[in-house]
């Protein structure tokens, strides 16, 4: 498998570490149902047979976290995005400042 890092170009699998589902979002710790939400966030996975959005880390390369969309049954990769950009786009603007 080869992953096209948006920064480094296409590299072999052994430069990357897989790190799970990119669709689960870390819940708010102050939510009244935080306990359940964190369990679901941390442990439960759809693990679908089709396309999967998942996190990879370019560990032996540029250290960027990436969101890779990949067919789980085919290993075919359809997109590789910079995780930081994805996260910033998905975050509500109000949360941008702390």
């Amino acid at each position: 498998m080869r992953i096209a890092c948006p920064y480094c170009g296409e590299r072999s699998l052994d430069e990357f570490l897989y790190s799970g589902d990119a669709t689960v979002k870390r819940p708010d710790f102050a939510s009244p149902t935080a306990a359940n939400e964190f369990v679901s966030y941390t442990y439960e996975r759809s693990n679908p047979p089709g396309m999967h959005r998942e996190l990879w880390y370019h560990s032996a390369g540029c250290h960027a976290w990436l969101v890779v969309t990949r067919g789980i049954a085919t290993h075919a990769i359809t997109s590789v995005e910079v995780a930081r950009d994805v996260a910033l786009n998905e975050k509500p603007a109000t949360k941008d400042s702390i």
């Binding site: 498998m1 080869r2 072999s12 880390y57 960027a64 995780a83 975050k91 702390i98």
Partner: protein, 1002 residues
């Protein structure tokens, strides 16, 4: 007409033709087989050289120990497996058909005793009525103890083919990555045509072929291209490709696997054709080839026919017979029967005739054949037996004749010493299926063709079902052009060479009904057609069941010559079609690959890189004993002359620290520099304890959790400036912590302004610990800096200079519980600083100490380390519960509160000492109540760390004990049956030295 064995110089090779073949007749090489010396020529394979010398018995079969000879002329060979070379280079199961001969080659037959000619185990053949497929599942069950004692050892003694060497492989291997616009796999006529078309565009082309010479079957068949012998065309193309800078030809290189993303694994046998690899040259090389486009031109493998005694030496694939004649100039037999179901029989008849053999008969299972074939047979003086089949072979260790079942139902015997058989061709489609694609059956060509191709792959030649020479050239040229266009180059038109299209007509013939004797489907694994019938009877009808039950196709050849016949027979028995029956999954490698090649450089000592700390040299000079910590070699202890064991050394080191001063290289700790306006907020979300209030110029101990509330790492956090922090991690977790921080910064909280840089290697860092530590440091710290307790109190941090202006960082931290500092200097000065500290420390009685003493002192102080931070403990478990903030969000906050993690029954950290103070403690011992039985129900925890405490004069331990902190004073058992230990220990405070913490503050 060439005649065997009469020419000069080949007199000792009775079956060498006088002319012909591509071997180098000007040179002679000597080799031995089973101790006997023979000669051959460069360019010979072991098989061709054995044939030249009239050797036809080359091995014994796996199960029945039947005599076996050479079936093929290629990598599909199931029978002629030998042990090659000797001693440390002994190499089992090498196919004689691909091993090139060289001067001094030593080969041995295998799986026989005492000799190939007389093999005692051949009695198995007599027992073959019992040893049918799957017999052992039904037997050897009673009495059960005998399985391990008797049956299995007996089975194992019989198991295996060749012997692995008893010594480490002395040869070297390496690996390389190559990138291609177009990769062409197979250097037959199709592959050469494809490579040429692609190469002329200037695209980067890699051509691999598993053989030493290019040309493939076109050369083997002695065909003509553009009106000249095929090998001349091959030579011209090869010359052009060799001189093109954009082309790399890898000969003796097998593409063994197709992997995701256009990656192919290939193995180049760089030196296998030599007696010993040249200095510095590897034996073999693993190529990872990354190709934009790939043309697979892997050709086809001929199928045997399943008939009685079809495994007898002298029965050979017809194509192989042609190869031996045309490529090697040897004649595998003088009186031949050709047995086939396709028009290619004619070319075998012709080749044999041309080589001077007598062709006794052409036996063709088809009732009708073309006039052209008939003409060739009659020209060769061969009897034509149409609609007839060979049912059995005569002879013992070599065919002496065959029995024929004629069209009219008669039995006939023919004398012969060679049976050239062909049941049709199977395209070598394996590389198209490695990514899961299913092949499709072709009813006209009677073979499986590739199904959906892997991304970027196209086909050329016989693998695509283009079985005729003319078509391979047309198909190869156009596949090469198409591939190179797809790779982004403008194709150049290349003239297609001309060759005749011989007929590829074929009719089904998988097995001969009512065979005379055992009819083998998988020759290496001794699977017969009756085994297939048995499997069917017992319900193992799915092809994959058939395979596993009979072991069909599971031998070293992976059933290259067996699988299709087998499933066709299964289809016939079950009344299904071949596509309904299906084919078993092919897996990499295409042909077996040496394990050493896959490891390359990374073996033995060089399995993983070794990381050396900055003062490694000093430590070495001072007799240090090192210990592997991850990839690092860390100083473990520094024995001095006269010390009788490590314990004595460590005691001395500890005592020195506690009473004077010691120096320890702690450079391997992970160090991370964090800067940015939001760093404080960022760290606050990563550490379980509050860090926002940490003043500039101060450090604090911190702990990080995983999101599940379990401790991940601990270390110190130093604030160097308003927005500048410097943290340390444990050596083991340095990489993991950086990865985690990047995850948090890039994915969880990308809005924060924080920059994370690993600085582990920038700083050589030394712990200087002991009551005299400040005095020692005073001697190297430049006078401008105040390191008095007032100016530089406990937990202070400062950027200073030492030794006249060398920049340094000083931390007042203590793992040992003594007054202590950590001092960091740029790594290049590490070794010199260590020397200087040792030198300057002499007057205080200083010594260097290593991880052992470090461990002792942290245990004496009740500090946690790796054994407590084992991925299953919570802060509370290890006595850090008080540190956990309840006010802020941080990773692990929410899940850390789950009932299972705050259960008061969870074992918690506490100290232990032996009741009998002279006794030794061992970590890994489990705790039981004093009077409790040693059962699982009574298990109350375990000892995590122990040390001999010089300060206490006895062993001390830390451990996780149920409600530990509540049980101080209780006596429990430390039960250690795996080391024969069972010690009464007292539950005590985990702090064994200076419980008030006075000394650390000075």
């Amino acid at each position: 007409m060439a005649t065997p064995g009469q020419g000069s110089g080949t007199g000792s090779q009775p079956n060498r033709l006088e002319t012909g073949g591509l071997v180098d007749r000007s040179r002679i090489v000597r080799f031995t087989f089973d101790g006997k010396t023979y000669t051959g020529h460069p360019g010979d394979t072991l098989a061709s050289a054995l044939i030249a010398n009239g050797v036809s018995l080359t091995g014994r079969s796996f199960k029945y120990h039947r005599p076996r000879g050479i079936l093929s002329a290629g990598s599909e060979e199931p029978n002629a497996l030998v042990e090659l070379r000797e001693g440390a280079r002994r190499e089992p199961n090498t196919r004689a058909t691909v091993a090139e001969v060289f001067d001094g080659l030593v080969a041995r037959s295998q799986n026989r005793w005492p000799s190939l000619d007389f093999d005692v185990m051949a009695v198995n053949s007599l027992l073959s009525p019992i040893f049918v497929a799957g017999f052992y599942y039904k037997t050897f069950m009673w009495p059960s103890a005998l399985w391990e004692k008797l049956y299995e050892p007996a089975i194992r003694r019989a198991a295996g083919l060749g012997r692995a060497s008893d010594e480490a492989d002395p040869d070297t291997y390496d690996k390389a990555t190559a990138f291609a616009d177009v990769l062409v796999i197979g250097g037959g006529t199709a592959g050469l045509a494809a490579a040429l078309a692609a190469a002329r565009t200037n695209a980067r082309v890699i051509l691999v072929d598993e053989n030493a010479t290019l040309g493939g079957r076109g050369v083997d068949d002695g065909a003509d291209i553009n009106g000249n012998p095929a090998h001349e065309w091959v030579r011209t193309v090869e010359a052009e490709l060799s001189s093109a800078p954009n082309v790399r030809i890898l000969r003796r290189t097998t593409a063994f696997g197709t992997y995701d993303g256009g990656t192919y694994g290939a193995v180049e046998r760089v030196s296998d054709h030599l007696a010993v690899a040249a200095q510095g040259v590897p034996r073999q090389r693993l190529w990872r080839i990354v190709a934009k486009e790939t043309v697979l031109a892997s050709g086809a493998t001929e199928r045997p026919v399943v008939f009685g005694g079809n495994d007898r030496p002298g029965v050979m694939l017809a194509g192989a017979v042609r190869t031996y004649i045309n490529r090697f100039g040897v004649l595998p037999g003088r009186r031949a029967v050709v047995f086939t179901n396709n028009d290619y029989g004619a070319s075998t008849v012709a080749a044999l005739k041309r080589a001077g053999a007598e062709v006794v008969a052409l036996v063709d299972s088809r009732a009708q054949i073309s006039d052209e074939v008939k003409r060739i047979a009659s020209e060769a003086g061969a009897r034509l037996l149409l609609g007839a089949v060979v049912t059995g072979t005569l002879g013992k260790k070599r065919v002496t004749g065959v029995t024929i079942h004629t069209r009219t139902g008669e039995e006939e015997r023919l004398d012969c010493d060679l049976v050239a058989m062909s049941g049709g061709w199977n395209p070598n489609i394996q590389l198209t299926t490695h990514l899961g694609s299913k092949p499709t059956w072709n009813d006209k060509l009677l073979c499986f063709l590739p199904g959906t191709l892997p991304h970027g792959m196209s086909l050329a030649g016989a693998v695509a079902g283009d079985f005729t020479l003319g078509k391979t050239l047309v198909g190869g040229t156009s596949a090469g052009s198409a591939a190179v266009t797809a790779a982004g180059y403008a194709a150049v038109s290349v003239p297609v060479p001309k060759a005749a299209d011989e007929s590829d007509a074929v009719a089904p013939l998988w097995r001969v009904k009512s065979p005379n004797g055992k009819a083998f489907v998988d020759q290496q694994n001794d699977v017969t057609e009756s085994d297939i019938e048995l499997a069917e009877r017992e319900g193992f009808r799915a092809v994959e069941h058939l395979k596993r039950y009979t072991t069909l196709g599971m031998a070293t050849d992976q059933g290259r010559t067996a699988n299709v016949n087998a499933l066709a027979i299964m289809a016939e028995i079950t009344g299904r079609t071949i596509p309904q029956t299906g084919i078993t999954v092919a897996r990499p490698p295409y042909t077996p690959v040496s394990l050493g090649t896959l490891a390359g450089h990374h073996r033995e000592k060089h399995f993983k890189p070794t990381r050396l700390p900055p003062s490694y040299r000093w430590a070495k000079e001072n007799g240090c004993v090192f210990v592997e910590t991850g990839l690092w070699l860390r100083p473990s202890y520094f024995p001095r002359p006269g010390e009788k064991d490590w314990l004595e050394t460590v005691k001395r080191e500890v005592t020195t620290v506690r009473n004077a001063v010691g120096i320890c290289d702690v450079s391997t700790l992970g160090k991370v520099d964090l800067q940015g306006a939001d760093t404080a907020a960022f760290l606050d979300r990563i550490y379980m304890n509050g860090l926002k209030t940490l003043p500039i110029g101060k450090c604090r101990y911190g702990g990080m959790l995983r999101e599940d509330g379990i401790l991940m790492d601990d270390g110190t956090v130093a604030r160097l400036g308003e927005n500048h922090y410097f943290i340390t991690t444990t050596t083991a977790n340095a990489v993991k912590v950086v990865q985690h921080m990047e995850y948090c910064a890039q994915w969880l909280w990308p809005e924060l302004d924080v920059q994370i840089v690993s600085a582990t290697e920038q700083w050589a860092q030394y712990a200087v610990a002991g009551p005299k530590s400040r005095e020692l440091l005073q001697k190297i710290v430049d006078p401008a800096f105040d390191i008095t307790d007032a100016g530089f109190p406990y937990l202070g941090v400062g950027e200073i200079t030492v030794c006249g202006g060398i920049k340094a960082r000083l931390f007042r931290l203590s793992f040992s519980g003594e007054r202590a500092y950590e001092i960091g200097v740029p790594a290049r000065y590490g070794d010199a600083l260590m020397r200087r500290l040792a030198e300057a420390g002499k007057e205080f009685g200083a010594c260097a100490y290593g991880t052992e003493a470090l461990g002792v002192m942290r245990i004496e102080k009740g500090h946690i380390s790796g054994p407590e931070l084992n991925g299953t403990t919570t802060p509370r478990d290890v006595g850090l519960g008080g540190m956990v903030s309840t006010k802020k969000d941080f990773i692990g906050h929410v899940l850390g509160k789950r009932p299972g993690l705050v259960d008061p029954e969870r074992p918690a950290l506490i100290g232990f000492r032996p009741l009998d103070r002279s006794q030794r403690l061992r970590s890994g011992a489990h705790f039981l109540k004093r009077d409790a039985q040693a059962t699982a129900e009574n298990d109350e925890g375990y000892m995590t760390s122990v040390a001999y405490s010089p300060s206490n004069g006895h062993w001390v331990g830390l451990g996780l004990l149920k409600r530990g902190p509540e049980r101080i004073g209780e006596i429990v058992r430390a039960y250690d049956p795996v080391r024969g230990g069972d010690t009464l220990v007292e539950v005590v405070s985990p702090v064994f030295v200076d419980p008030e913490g006075v000394r650390v503050r000075g």
